[in-house]
């Protein structure tokens, strides 16, 4: 038994009405009766029917007019069958044109009526199914829209994309879909180095945005603790490898900029070349991708080594994702690296960023991008106008520190060659400081003090490196390379670190003592160098440390150093 229909029967002849009604009821359908066109319109307005059987010739309003009105007012499609004595083609066509669906001629052949009703039923069922599908689709669409909104909100919060306005840095992103699978984020280390990350997840849209999720927290967290970009790259790779399926990965360029020393470190895995262009428009350096993207190699296969560059003259660092290089015009021609370099070189240094955006927009001429497009330009000035980390001139100690003192806590660390090769020591120390609830306002200064003293012990004491090397052209790169080699081949060497917090008179004091097994170094030369002599690539740090601390004492020819830092 097919489903029960609700059928409106319209006829001014009681006999016909009675006959048809009884027949249809017998077929198991529900009926509603109307005696003229006007009544039929009222009924159809009040409720929907699966079928309307409409007499044509009626008083007050005929079947054609009623059909026309029903079609006008009803939002639902209701099949209408005319019941008529008229049989010529012109009438037939008129009825169909006005909105009828079929005809049955009088006197009514009941078998034919039943067949028509069955045919109509089938159409009605399809119609109903379509309606339900459309409603379902609308529901999905709305739900999808809500989820997209939420995801957008979350992604912008997690990537903190609204707060990336920074001195020296300009960035631009053009997503291929709702979501960008590219992110560009930046943060300062406690030593005020600027870390940048341009990451491009496989594919585009929401799934690509999800790919780059895991990198964000790692980047911000490790940067704030002062880890270098090699350590960050290593951890990002491990994390992405662990979280994402094999076929998903994240191309990334990581950069660390030290504006006061004019040095940058860079790691590029899978992104187009990063460029350093001077004021004249000459490319001083290209850092091609020399690593596979993040999340491909196992932890032990991963090469986290960064490249280092010292910029002697002002210039600009330019980073982009492959979506920019591969942006196509109407003829399918890619924007290309050549056009990128030419556009940049042809514009004045402060116009380059905008000139490139304009050129890409002109090239694509409003065509939808295949992939997310990202660009970042970073000004690298010849002299740094930026602030040094908040400095507090060390309060001199009123009294000599006695041997017997009120110690609050004490930590000692003894590191040998194996650890010195592997551990990023300073961020580790800083993490302890956080655990020991050292107030955050001291963070960047203590980070700087640790970094300076520990690096001196390691570089000059253990690795026996000479800072004079940095004064030569390309000296910094040579210095870093030598450091890398010597550290890799290191067999012997000990660095001991003692930290202690104690109270003296009314002051809270942090004592840092670092001792290495090396032969010492000419610390006097570094301390005497003025803070402002920033043309030199070394020596500034130690002078800075002396200014921040209450006391700085070298002993044993420079292989042992003690500082006292006043906390409160």
């Amino acid at each position: 038994m097919s489903k029960q229909l609700k059928i409106l029967i319209v006829d001014d002849t009681e006999q016909n009405l009675f006959l048809v009604n009884r027949f249809i009821n017998k077929l198991g359908h529900e009926t509603v009766l109307a005696r003229n066109g006007r009544e039929a319109v009222e009924r159809a307005q009040a409720e929907t029917f699966d079928l309307i059987l409409m007499d044509v010739m009626m008083p007050e309003m005929d079947g054609y007019e009623a059909t026309r009105r029903i079609r006008e007012i009803s939002p639902h499609w209701m099949p209408i069958l005319f019941l008529t004595a008229k049989t010529d083609d012109a009438d037939y066509i008129k009825g169909i044109q006005i909105g009828g669906d079929d005809y049955i001629t009088k006197p009514i052949n009941l078998a034919l009526l039943e067949a028509r009703i069955k045919a109509i039923t089938r159409i009605a069922e399809i119609q109903q199914q379509n309606l339900e599908n459309a409603q379902q689709l609308e529901l999905y669409r709305n739900e999808n829209e809500r989820e997209l909104q939420l995801a957008k909100h979350l992604i912008s919060r997690i990537t903190r994309s609204e707060s990336t306005e920074r001195q020296h840095v300009r960035s631009w992103n053009m997503p291929a879909q709702h979501f960008s699978g590219d992110i560009f984020i930046s943060a300062h280390t406690p030593a005020d180095h600027l870390h940048l990350l341009l990451a491009d997840g496989t594919g585009h849209g929401l799934s690509a945005a999800l790919n780059v999720f895991p990198v964000v927290e790692v980047f911000y967290g490790m940067t704030s603790k002062g880890f270098n970009i090699s350590s960050i790259a290593q951890e990002l790779n491990r994390k992405i490898k662990q979280l994402l399926p094999t076929e998903r990965f994240v191309a990334a360029t990581l950069v660390s900029l030290n504006f006061s020393e004019k040095i940058l470190h860079i790691w590029n895995g899978g992104n187009p070349p990063a460029l350093f262009m001077d004021e004249k428009g000459t490319i001083q350096h290209r850092w091609k991708s020399i690593h596979p993207a993040l999340g491909i190699f196992q932890d032990h296969e991963f090469d986290a080594r960064s490249e280092v560059f010292h910029w002697p003259d002002a210039g600009q660092l330019i980073l982009c994702s492959d979506g920019l290089i591969e942006a196509q015009n109407r003829d399918g021609e890619e924007f290309g690296l050549g056009r990128l370099e030419h556009t940049l070189a042809s514009a004045a240094i402060d116009q380059r960023h905008d000139a490139l955006i304009t050129a890409v927009r002109q090239h694509t001429a409003g065509l939808a991008a295949h992939d997310d497009v990202s660009l970042a330009t970073i000004d690298c000035p010849a002299s740094d106008q930026g602030d040094l980390p908040a400095q507090k001139t060390g309060i001199k100690l009123d009294h000599p520190v006695p041997e017997e003192r009120a110690c609050r806590w004490k930590v000692g660390l003894h590191l040998t060659a194996a650890e010195l090769k592997e551990i990023d020591v300073v961020p580790m120390l800083l993490t302890w400081m956080d655990q020991l609830r050292l107030h955050r306002s001291h963070r960047s200064q203590i980070f700087l003090i640790f970094t300076e003293l520990f690096n001196n012990a390691l570089d000059h004491g253990i690795l026996n490196l000479d800072s004079e090397l940095k004064q030569h052209p390309d000296g910094f790169e040579l210095y870093i390379e030598q450091r890398r080699q010597r550290l890799a081949n290191l067999q012997h060497g000990i660095v001991e670190i003692d930290l202690e917090r104690f109270r003296q008179q009314n002051s809270e004091i942090l004592r840092i003592h670092i001792k290495d097994s090396g032969k010492g170094f000419d610390y006097r030369r570094y301390i005497s160098a003025g803070i402002s002599s920033s043309t030199r690539l070394s020596g500034r740090g130690l002078a800075l440390v002396r200014n921040m601390c209450s006391e700085l004492e070298y002993a044993s020819n420079g292989s042992e150093v003690t500082v006292y830092y006043t906390l409160a």
């Binding site: 491009d200 496989t202 594919g203 399926p245 094999t246 076929e247 998903r248 990965f249 191309a251 895995g269 899978g270 992104n271 187009p272 091609k288 991708s289 020399i290 690593h291 596979p292 993207a293 491909i296 492959d322 295949h370 992939d371």
Partner: protein
């Protein structure tokens, strides 16, 4: 939309999968069917992906190659990429896939 065309030939224990056209996410199913056939055939010892007629590949294509690399290793079959030129070669180069795949 131009899609990938895959021709799979097998002889002397070596399966060559020839790809042509745009190698991107839309080729996913076709590509998987092609390599799974080669992976489950015990007589096949090595698989070569011939990219000579591919005129575009994107990062999801690279992902599919990585997935195949893992599956081939699990099935103890060797894998190589062949005839990379033009844009394909550039993409493979930027991705440093020469560190991950044998390139012929």
């Amino acid at each position: 939309m131009s899609s990938i065309q895959i021709k799979n030939t097998q002889e002397n224990g070596k399966a060559i999968i020839y790809l042509a056209g745009r190698f991107d996410f839309n080729s996913h199913r076709q590509f998987r069917e092609a390599y799974e056939q080669a992976l489950k055939e015990p007589a096949i010892k090595s698989i070569e992906i011939d990219l000579g007629s591919v005129d575009y590949l994107d990062s999801s294509a690279l992902g599919m190659l990585l997935l195949l690399r893992e599956k081939a290793a699990n099935a103890s079959k060797s894998l190589a990429l062949a005839n990379c030129r033009g844009i394909v070669q550039q993409v493979i180069e930027v991705a440093n896939f020469n560190k991950l795949f044998t390139i012929r």
